[in-house]
């Protein structure tokens, strides 16, 4: 599986990543010995159903695992090993060089501050000697780049004054202000309506072609991932099922689980018949 060449062109190189929780019943691993690479400027999709460990993988990369969770293995970002990096150094990477977009934009924005403050805050804490006014200008520019109309006025609005799609644009603007090399988007469109989803996906594509940033898109939606990413990692119950070029996985999946997943997706332009499901009950159906 890890036959990918060990070129230095990789922006991110993950090896043997394991994330576990300590519980009363002992160690429970939610991500098990995961290997994958992300090429510079590449777009990687991590796909899986609930409980597959895909979100934990993203939090492990960011070093933002919840209390009680531990990670082992290696995460190399641009030649820097992140797992052993001191928290202070990690902090200077977080938000500046690796940025993250979350699923629910409303709860991910602090209701007490204007969106401008929240966009500018990251900029000010990463760039020393930035005045309030400069940071505000950066915030407005970032909002303009994500096509929020009337940004100079909207910058002083609070999150609850925006619609769902607009809030997600604010989240993206927040990451953009720092010009990161890697953007991790965890289910960025799951909470949104389908027409808004299309806009946000277009925006992500536009930003990628503008800035050349790498993208990790975490989602349960195979159709979304097929449109956005060039490389794919399929996960199930914390295990890596298979990975490879998107085209290869969509045209010639090697694993039964991947095949079942692809068959189970209802199509808008395919024949209608019984949706194929795995004959053996899936893990989710066992109890």
């Amino acid at each position: 599986m890890s036959e990918t060449p060990r070129d230095t062109e990789n922006l991110l190189r993950v090896r043997d990543l394991t994330v576990g929780f300590h519980t009363a019943a002992g160690q429970v691993d939610v991500v098990k010995q995961l290997d994958f690479d992300l090429a510079r400027g590449g777009a990687l999709g991590i796909v899986g159903e609930s409980g597959s460990g895909k979100s934990m993988t993203s939090l492990a990369i960011m070093g933002l695992l919840p209390k009680g969770a531990s990670r082992s293995g290696s995460i190399e970002f641009d030649g820097t090993e992140l797992t052993t990096l001191p928290e202070r150094a990690m902090r200077s990477i977080r938000g500046d060089r690796i940025a993250m977009i979350f699923q629910d934009p409303l709860s991910s924005l602090n209701p007490y501050y204007t969106v401008g403050t929240q966009i500018a805050e990251a900029y000010r804490s990463h760039r020393s000697g930035v005045t309030r006014r400069q940071a505000r200008k950066v915030a407005i520019e970032a909002m303009e780049r994500v096509h929020i109309r009337d940004a100079a006025r909207r910058v002083d609005h609070y999150p609850h004054q925006f619609s769902g799609g607009m809030r997600q644009r604010v989240m993206i603007a927040m990451t953009l202000s720092m010009e990161p090399e890697l953007i991790i988007a965890d289910e960025p469109t799951t909470a949104l309506d389908v027409t808004v989803q299309a806009q946000i996906l277009d925006l992500l594509a536009e930003i990628r072609s503008d800035t050349g940033a790498g993208l990790i898109l975490i989602t349960h939606d195979l159709a979304v991932v097929s449109q956005v990413t060039d490389h794919l990692v399929v996960m199930r119950d914390g295990d890596l099922v298979e990975q490879g070029a998107a085209e290869q996985i969509f045209t010639d999946p090697q694993r039964d689980y991947t095949r079942m997943l692809l068959d189970a997706v209802p199509r808008i332009d395919d024949e209608i018949g019984l949706l194929r499901t795995l004959t053996a009950p899936t893990a989710e159906e066992e109890s």
Binding site: M62, R91, G95, D104, S108, N110, P111, S125
Partner: protein
């Protein structure tokens, strides 16, 4: 915004009116005839009737209630002729036992109750919030469990038990504090301070226990919010994450509760003032109960309700200022 304010003020007036009415009804129904009380021991039915007529007690309920309410705004006169007693504008009633308008009695004692309330509030706010923060940061560790144990104890100890124990320990046994004695601040600041110290502590212990628990719960809950995760994902320093994204949302609800508690305390700390012999509103109320001086009890009840209602409104307004979700409506 203006409509919101108007709504609040109207609601407040309604509640205050109801409090008035309710109190009045209870005392109208329950209280022994004031005329009999005033009249004293050697009394004839004729004198009582005379007194009743003078005081308007022979009037129907609504008319008496109206006299009472209007007395609050324009004052009223008890009786007529040369023996008439004037009770000036905010007339909360007249104590025939002490021959004083209730409002004046309260006004004299308000500074003492306010001093007790303010000192205790500062103490419990500082102690409660900081202990709560420590507890939240060290969640599950020794410090947290220690503080939790303390708060449970603090919540459980009735304040007269605590007050008497402290007095016994600090004044009688150890002699660290002088015996309480009412002196003005200007005369002997040290004695003044030590005089109030124990009431402050006693009131603060129970309240700060509650505030500790509240702070702890709020902070722990806020730290699990998604926006705190976002702040960390932005690479903000832990200090900044804490100050900006955890503390403000966590402490905002405390404003509400603080306002209510403080307002409640302004109306007199009955037990604490009694235990420490402080001549505040609370002690006056307790004494009036012993003497069965109904107008005073009623006045204090109304005043305390007034403070609570006002406190409620101030808190609402503060909340509007603090929480943008309330302040600016949704434009989406």
């Amino acid at each position: 915004m203006i409509r919101f304010l108007l709504n609040r003020v109207m609601g407040m007036v309604v509640v205050l009116f109801l409090v008035c009415l309710f109190t009045f009804v209870i005392f109208f129904v329950l209280s022994p005839d004031p005329a009999v009380q005033i009249c004293g021991k050697n009394c004839t039915p004729e004198v009582i009737d005379q007194l009743r007529a003078n005081l308007g007690l022979d009037q129907p309920f609504w008319s008496q209630f109206w006299t009472f309410v209007s007395g609050l705004f324009v004052g009223r006169t008890y009786g007529s002729g040369p023996n008439a007693i004037d009770c000036a504008a905010p007339c909360l009633g007249y104590s025939f036992q002490t021959s004083q308008p209730v409002f004046d009695m309260i006004a004299q004692r308000l500074p003492v109750s306010a001093t007790v309330a303010i000192g205790a509030a500062i103490l419990w706010l500082l102690a409660g919030v900081s202990a709560g923060l420590v507890s939240a940061v060290r969640e599950g560790r020794f410090a947290d469990r220690f503080i939790t144990g303390l708060t449970l104890t603090g919540m459980s100890i009735p304040n007269y038990v605590l007050g008497l124990s402290l007095q016994f320990l600090l004044v009688v046994t150890l002699g660290w504090l002088p015996f309480p004695q009412a002196v003005p601040f200007s005369e002997d600041p040290v004695q003044w301070f030590s005089n109030y110290l124990m009431p402050w502590i006693v009131l603060a212990v129970g309240a700060s226990a509650v505030y500790t628990r509240l702070t702890r719960a709020n902070v722990i809950e806020t730290l699990q919010e998604n926006y705190v995760r976002t702040a960390r994902a932005k690479g903000l320093s832990p200090g900044l994450v804490w100050r900006r994204h955890a503390l403000r949302p966590a402490l905002t609800p405390i404003v509400t509760i603080f306002g209510m508690d403080f307002a409640g305390l302004l109306g007199g700390a009955l037990i604490t003032e009694t235990v420490f012999g402080l001549n505040g509103i609370g002690k006056m109320a307790a004494d009036s109960i012993t003497k069965n001086d109904q107008p005073v009890i009623m006045g204090v009840t109304l005043l305390a309700a007034f403070f609570v209602v006002i406190g409620n409104m101030v808190v609402d307004l503060l909340y509007t200022a603090i929480d943008p979700r309330v302040r600016v409506g949704s434009a989406a």
